[in-house]
Structure formats: structure tokens, C-alpha cells
Symmetry: C2
Subunit: 233 residues, 2 copies
DNA sequence: ACCTGAACACCGTTCAAGT
DNA sequence: ACCTGAACACCGTTCAAGT
């Protein structure tokens, strides 16, 4: 067994200890996830971005799971902050939904990790509360308010996740047009006998707009809620 | 360096080579995921269940990702098979949605892995096609059919995923009551000033039924579609 | 054609040790 | 109080070798 002495070459190696903070860790975590994706984002990769050792991260965070939860929560904070209380509750709800949808599209890695846990992701619950508060103004029983709010958020998160997945299928096709083309090609070669609807729909998909699709579904829900509101008046 | 000779005890060790098949691999994969969850389901764990070596799995499957995709597809096959073409398209759609929702609840690991890719998960696209075919009978323009179908599936998958997440928060609380209690406790301690809606809603959540919540949201969507149908007649 | 074990490059996490 | 490097027990994947 030998002791190996490392020659640093230069005698004046800076060797300054990196100074971290929960803030900087989370900021770098979000940035890293955005850049290289959840799949490739390891703690070692994060440490490298921070210019720190891996184990340093554990001073601020208990586990990778917690780090991801906090990263999601950090991103959702922007949704909460941006929303302004509109005069019309339906406009306000639409506003929140759109902001959340955009956030999922922007930070795709958070799509599958949004949880309604006040401890782990308070901002997620804040969003639910914002939607619910608006619904409490339209005159529905309280359990219908709750069911409507979770329906809306379930739809937004669900469709968002599906779209993120669809985008990943295109792989390295970065541009939106290339992505749409890849998706459409995958669909149009499908057996028209077994999948008649998808086959004809693939023509629609060619000039497809995610925002439009999202908006349509959201309106279905909002109209459904309006109907229940009208029934009670 | 020594060579260690292992004494098998019994001299007649069977040492039969395990016989595998794509069928048995997928079956064991689904069973394993159901039992121990996606988090703990490694290829080594699967190999052990199969009584085979890890690398044997790679004869039938290119990667773990593909294995998971195929496992999801296998589970979705039951949804496709169960559905019967109803006379009323709305009843038929409701039927499909409920079956999909039940499947996600039963196989929680597949919640975040459902993709609309005809290559990787044909049965997922089959489900979309089934819903779309029903919608084509109600008299809407083809892009509204497509938007409605994806809205419904987005909602089902999204709300299903959210509920799976909520259940996991309760941790090892296996029974449904324990899960609800843990969730409710988490919510009722919430600041009533900052989260007024959630605070009052937590009372509703105490006697909460996932199926009811799901049904309510689905009806919002279906009613919204019916409205658009009525407008065009 | 199908299955094996060993090896590779990576993980997340822990911990005694440094500053 | 905060940061480090080394070590641990795991991963998914590859591959030459066996049957």
C-alpha cells in the first residue's frame, strides 16, 4: 500500500471552499433540469454546476427526492405570484390554468412531480386554493367547488404531461415544426382499419396547436361548471 | 489470492437453465411493479423473480425503458379488451374513461408513463381511437372530436396521477381510511388565512370518495361536449 | 437461439475529517 | 456552521463465453 502524493503543478492552487446556500442549490437545480432534463440530472452533475462536492448538497437537502420536490415548488411559486384576482371568476380561473400549463411546458421535468402536499409543495396547494376561492364565488355547494377545482388542475397537469411526453418522442427535433412532423408521421402510417379515428385525425394534427387544444378542453370544463351554476340560480 | 470452493451441500444441484419468454418477462414485470412499486423495481429484482440472470432479460428487451413501456401497454390491453361499444356514445365514453381510471388506480406505476405513441404503446392509441370513434358519432367537427378526446384522456390520466400521488403521501398507511386520515390531517393544519378554500374543503375531504370526484369531473367534460353538440343541431 | 457471470461506468447516500 | 473526499451498496448495460 502506497501513499500517492499529488503534484498540483502550480503551487498556488486557489482551493477556495465554495459557498453554497439553499437558494443557490435550488436555482442551479432548476437551471440544470431545464437544460439537460430530469433523466440526466444527477447530484454529481448538480455539484459540478455548483463547483462543489456532491455531499455538500446534503447539508441543505435530505434527499434527491426532496430536492426535486423543492425544485418543483420553486417553479410553481411563479404561477402563484403572476396570477391576479380578476373580476370575473371564470377569467381568473382560466388565467391560473394557462399560467400553470405554460409553466409545465417550460419546465417539462416537473410534469410528473406535482403533488398536492402542503408540506412538500405548498405552492401547489396555493394554486388549488386560488382556483377554489374563485369557484366559491360562482355559487356551488362546497364539495362541487372542490371537485371542480381538482378536475381543472387534473386536466391541466394531465394534458400538460401528455404533451410533454409527445414532444419527447420527437427526440432531438428541437423546433416545433420538426416535432409536429415527427408526431404526424408516426400517426399517419397507422393502420386505417384498426385505428380509423386516429388516421383521419392525423390530418388535423398536422396543423396542430397545443395551446388551442388546451383551451378547448379547459372551456369544456368551464362550460360544464357554468351549467351547474345556472341550474342552481 | 485464494480461490474459494463453494460447498453446495447437496451434490445434486439442479442447475437447469431457466427458460424465459417475452410473455413471462412482461408478466413478471407487471406483477413485480404491482407488488413493490416502480421505485424499487430493478432489473436485478426482476431477474430474481424470474429465477434468471439479469442479462437474460436483454435478450427480450432493448432497455429498461422499453420494458416499462411494454409493461404499461400490457396493462392497457385490458382496457381495450373490456370496453363494449354501447348504443349511446356518451355512455361508451364514460365506460372507457372509468376503465382507464380503474387501471391507473390498480397499477399505480403506469400513471406517469402512458404515452400516445403507436410504436411504443399501441394500446394507448387504441384507447384514444375508441374515444374518438364515439365522438365522431355525436356530430362535431373533426378537430373538436380530437380536442375532446384528448381532453378526456388528459383529465383521466391527470386526475389519476394526482390521486396516486396523494395516496403515496400516506406512506405505509395501507388501508383507505388511514390514507384519507393522513391526507386530511395534513390539510386541516393548514393556515386558514392563507389557504381559506383548502381549509374549509378539508372538511369535505374527510368523507371523500375518489370515484365520485372522478365522476364529477368527467361529467363536466361530457356536459361541455353535449353543449357543443346541441349548438350545432 | 438463448442464457450466464463478470465487468463497466455510473448512481444516491453516509460519514469521518477538515476548515 | 459548512464543506470535502472516500467509501458503500446499489444501479442499467455490455460482452465474451457457455449450452
Amino acid at each position: 500500500m502506497f501513499e500517492v502524493w499529488q503534484d498540483e503543478g502550480m503551487t498556488t492552487v486557489p482551493k477556495t471552499r465554495t459557498v453554497l446556500s439553499l437558494e443557490s442549490v435550488l436555482e442551479e437545480s432548476v437551471a440544470g433540469l431545464d437544460e439537460i432534463g430530469a433523466e440526466k440530472m444527477s447530484l454529481r452533475a448538480l455539484a459540478k454546476r455548483l463547483g462543489a462536492g456532491v455531499s455538500s448538497i446534503y447539508w441543505y437537502v435530505d434527499s434527491k427526492n426532496q430536492l426535486l420536490d423543492m425544485s418543483v415548488d420553486r417553479v410553481l411559486a411563479d404561477v402563484v405570484a403572476t396570477v391576479d384576482p380578476d373580476s370575473d371568476p371564470f377569467d381568473a380561473i382560466r388565467d391560473i390554468a394557462v399560467r400553470l400549463f405554460e409553466t409545465i411546458d417550460e419546465h417539462q421535468w416537473c410534469a410528473g412531480r406535482i403533488t398536492q402536499d402542503p408540506v412538500r409543495q405548498l405552492n401547489s396547494v396555493r394554486i388549488l386554493d386560488l382556483v377554489g376561492r374563485q369557484l366559491s364565488r360562482v355559487g356551488l355547494p362546497v364539495d362541487d367547488q372542490f371537485h371542480s377545482a381538482t378536475a381543472i388542475l387534473g386536466f391541466v397537469i394531465g394534458l400538460g404531461t401528455q404533451m410533454v411526453g409527445a414532444q419527447n418522442l420527437a427526440g432531438d427535433a428541437v423546433t416545433r415544426l420538426a416535432y409536429l412532423d415527427a408526431a404526424a408521421n408516426r400517426w399517419k402510417d397507422v393502420d386505417p382499419d384498426e385505428l380509423p379515428f386516429v388516421h383521419t385525425a392525423s390530418a388535423v394534427l398536422r396543423e396542430h396547436d397545443d395551446a388551442e387544444q388546451f383551451s378547448f378542453g379547459l372551456d369544456l370544463l368551464l362550460d360544464g361548471i357554468r351549467q351547474r351554476q345556472a341550474r342552481r340560480l
